[in-house]
Amino acid sequence: MKTRFLNKFIIKILLIFFLSILFMLKTFNSEEFKQTIHIVWVAFFLISIEYLSINYNPPKGLTFLLNAGFKRWEIIVYLGGNYIILSLMVMLFVSPPLSTPSIVIYLLFLSYMLLILFLWLLYGINIVILLSVLPVLINFAIIIFFKTLFHWDFYDFIEHSLLTQITLTLICLIFAIYFLKRFLYGDIT
């Protein structure tokens, strides 16, 4: 059972990895290929939503982690770390600016893999799945979802409007403060 479950995850991660490499190799230009990729992303999105709704109920998950001995700041660091690295990664994959050297992308990948390895060694595979793989898939999926269905080019959208940049930063800050406050000072359920 465990092996089957792990295999599923490994396949998904490899698939994401493989697709990302393809993006980086600029095989990205053919329209047909783009369409295929989009379908795959939507499939990923659906899979992630399934995990989000059925298997990964955040408040219950957090209660479990706290009860298992994790400190609140530890969970924030792990989840936050994952989200920041992955958000950057996805943005670069989805809309790679020409000026971005591929070394940045490789470094981001490397940091993510190191984070996973670190968690794996420290707490075992369970925590990697709970804190790393699931949020990553969800994060990936949400960004790709907007890109695919609404043709919303994050990079262009953000880069070309100062007002948008400020608004998005403010919204993110308000959300971050709200959730951090709730999580650190109670009422997380």
Partner: protein, 271 residues
């Protein structure tokens, strides 16, 4: 929030929501005793326990209770359904002191397949898995149980009643348990508090027998009947021909009403 050095487990707080206020609520938990919070649905039992565990922040007041990482919990949150009980035990064992032999004995006792994912287990078995983790922890500072016997069959319930009492006494830690089932709490609890609409009654410590319920024989017609006593007075009798005799006896609304509104039918109480 509490720390490792907590000597007194108590709270005195108010938690306000738009349509509901819990408290002012003053409660003190004793070591080696099981305190039961009994009340109907929506009374505020889970909110109370969440506040104690630090999952909800009280609007005003103080809570002296250990943090979630020092507690054993059942019914608060859930175990991840993607994993098997064996994996969960392993996971807990990395961060907290957990007696794996106790855990695996319980797994065997409850006949749970240790490699089976939780999502494929029944609701009762999933609840038993929470019990296994809670009872296997080596040094929890308190036990917090929210409707912990829900979905569990009577055989396992009886095992858990015994194990719970034994654990609390042996470890000399406080235990708070919430339930809407008066019969269950009667079997396990040393102290009972009634909660209704966010208001908590005074604690009733056993064996004061302020409230108890028995099945006895009616002397006049020699028929069996269920009787609820409150402060040595019979407040309700249920004749034998009532098919749901136990259900009637543990009519929680009736008992909680006594604590919060008084007995309106006092004149009709039989001698």
């Amino acid at each position: 929030m509490g720390s490792m050095q907590i000597t007194e487990f108590s709270c005195n707080f108010i938690k306000k929501y738009k349509n509901f206020t819990l408290g002012p609520l003053k409660l003190s938990l004793k070591r080696g005793k099981i305190t039961a919070i009994v009340g109907p649905n929506g009374a505020g039992k889970t909110t109370l326990l969440h506040c104690l565990c630090g999952l909800r922040k009280p609007t005003t007041g103080e809570i002296h209770f250990p943090p979630l990482s020092h507690l054993a919990i059942v019914g608060i949150g859930d175990l991840p359904e993607l994993f098997s009980i064996k994996e969960i035990i392993g996971f807990f064992g990395k961060n907290r002191e957990l007696n794996k032999s106790i855990a695996f004995n319980l797994i065997k006792k409850f006949k749970i397949k240790e490699n089976q994912k939780l999502k494929t287990l029944s609701s009762g078995q999933r609840m038993l898995c929470q019990w296994i983790v809670a009872l296997s922890l080596n040094s929890p500072e308190a036990l917090v149980l929210d409707e912990p016997f829900i979905h569990i069959d009577i055989v396992h319930k009886n095992i858990l009643f015994d194990m719970l009492s034994e654990t609390i006494i042996k470890r000399n830690i406080p235990c708070i348990i919430s339930s809407h089932n008066i019969l269950e709490t009667d079997k396990t609890a040393d102290i009972i508090c009634f909660l209704k609409n966010g208001n908590l009654s005074d604690a009733i410590e056993k064996p004061c027998k302020d409230v108890f319920w028995v099945i006895e024989e009616n002397k006049e017609n020699e028929k069996t009947q269920g009787v609820i006593y409150f402060k040595d007075k019979v407040v309700k009798t249920v004749p034998k021909n009532n098919k749901n005799i136990k259900g009637e006896i543990c009519d929680l609304q009736e008992i909680t009403r006594l604590f919060f509104e008084g007995n309106e039918n006092e004149n009709e109480i039989p001698e």
